[in-house]
Symmetry: none
Subunit: 402 residues, 2 copies
Amino acid sequence: MNPEFIDSLVIKNNTKIIFLIMDGLGGLPMEGTNQTELESAKTPNLDALARTSVCGLLDPVGYGITPGSGPAHFALFGYDPIKNNIGRGILEAAGIDFPMTDRDLLIRINFATIDANGTIIDRRAGRIDNATNQRICRKLQQNIQKLSDIEIIFEPVREHRALLVLRGDGLREEILETDPQKTGLPPLSPNALVPEAKETAALLQKLIHRAGEILSDEEKANMMLLRGYSRYHRYPSVMERFGLNALAIAGYPMYRGIARLLGMVIGPQPSSIREEFLALRDRYSQHDFFFLHVKPTDSRGEDGDFDAKVAVIEEVDRLIPLITDLKPDVLVVTGDHSTPAALASHSWHPLPVLLSSATCRPDRVDRFGERDCIAGGLGRLPTVYLMGLALAHARRLEKFGA
Amino acid sequence: MNPEFIDSLVIKNNTKIIFLIMDGLGGLPMEGTNQTELESAKTPNLDALARTSVCGLLDPVGYGITPGSGPAHFALFGYDPIKNNIGRGILEAAGIDFPMTDRDLLIRINFATIDANGTIIDRRAGRIDNATNQRICRKLQQNIQKLSDIEIIFEPVREHRALLVLRGDGLREEILETDPQKTGLPPLSPNALVPEAKETAALLQKLIHRAGEILSDEEKANMMLLRGYSRYHRYPSVMERFGLNALAIAGYPMYRGIARLLGMVIGPQPSSIREEFLALRDRYSQHDFFFLHVKPTDSRGEDGDFDAKVAVIEEVDRLIPLITDLKPDVLVVTGDHSTPAALASHSWHPLPVLLSSATCRPDRVDRFGERDCIAGGLGRLPTVYLMGLALAHARRLEKFGA
């Protein structure tokens, strides 16, 4: 079934749906205990939920595919993650709420340090602080506003990361990224990957050269590396597709950015997981779909810190009553992908999901864990179908056919 | 997900992947014990593997589809079995290492016996021996080298089977097979199934007539039946698609042929299952993907001999340490399709699979059997996705998206 098939069946009502997303939730068993992070964690609230829910295992993109955050979240919101693969430039722009137009080519800048020979000696320019980043972007902007007919915009993001926007006609994204991914090498040339991109490539070549001149007196950030070229693309919003007035509560720019791209209202930027839950409660009456994004499960997984990831999961578990007390019509608890501490990176392993609703058919899963969810009533399914299931349980999809 | 999607994510490393394929592995329970062949077999080594593996059930082509060996193996190697459906002619040609060109129409010959009225009385010409087959092909070749502008080649295969190659321009494969599948009937006419195939059909009609004249003094093989018309088609190799330097160890021509079509190196032709395992061990350092094909599970299933199939599985189980001792990064044990002794034929039933790897998330399956694998962490999945999973567990797929 095409994931967009459900769009034609959407009806509106007053039900409320919550997606509680623990980033990188899925894990791998630790030697010794043979338990994953989630299985090790004490999660009485999630386990109680699992007992009255329908559970399963999600494949974010497909069997064996390790997803980045972009595709994984697109899938969660019912958007085909391959068809809608999103460039890093557009994600970066969305994350800082940059007002994109459909003439924009969006590019991520990593400021870097090169030596006198032009060799990269630090690909992150010593992770300069935000103030330095802002000063450097201002300096570049003051010296470069236009190249040929193309408007040039520099926007700081954080640390060594910034956004470069080229605004004009005929810009192409099929350009080689200039970060060689290693120190000890010079930056790569932004070569055209298709003949039609030659003009854009030449423009970028000139721009990089100018930027190098302007930054030559900087101690650390004396070069910019370009990646994630992406032409702006407007996505149909969750309101247009599903009739959902959605609120996104997420601390990290990228997730706020994705939510904004899909037409969600962006909530306050919380400074703790607890604040996120409280923000949802405070705005519960104003929306009908809630995306609550918990980042530290992924961060601790990426750190390879099993115990710290367990602690984050336990913290989330303690906060669960704050949302179950709201009695949402549908509560989905899952992640976007696995980030096992054992691998210290995103992975391809499927991740557990529970869907709690008065209209669900509970299975016999009595504990929220990867291996428990194998026996769940949802089976193993592509994440992209989760939104349809949530809408169905919220009685927001009408019957198909006579 | 399109099965070819993974190709864009492939990276190379030094990991090693073994596919141990027991042909026709899946079975059906026998009355009385209520156990399948695999469940009845004493398989301590496979059971031990299952306990540290992720298990599941594979559908070779789709729900309810009974696959031939061609599609089943294409799926195992990650090639869409329907899109890449391969004609028997090309399989036959590949199996005898015939040097195909892209102007070839490849056809399987079954020599048959007809009576004075032209009625088929033996569709396999009494299974003539290989020497007779060779003599007959030589005789045909000496009398027929060309028809119109089309070069004609006869190649013996074994017993009553041979290969007919038409080499020239504009040849088509949409022709009716001439074997009526029953004795007591005359051969069918090789009619064109589409208007564009009329010329090829007329040529084949003439060729069959000539061959009949030449073979008229033969006692048994006095007619040829044609089937499996296939135009040559080059497939991207497993090296091109997955960066794998693959070795195929298989005793039977068809499997060697399929492996060769997909660019695998063909190992020595072993005379026993044990020799196959030893051949793999001997060449382990020279390749990074190993396809080890065990035929007798299927043959004994086709014979309807439950106990003999059990014995083959037990023999394989005893040999397992020969490959686990190599400590491959990924070991997959499965089959290509089910061949239940109860049906004495290929069948549509899903078949058990286990994937053993340090990076897998073991499930709770503690025994390798059809019903045990229902509870496996892989769930039930199309065979075509198995290759992507193997590559992922071998860390040979990079992350998708930002």
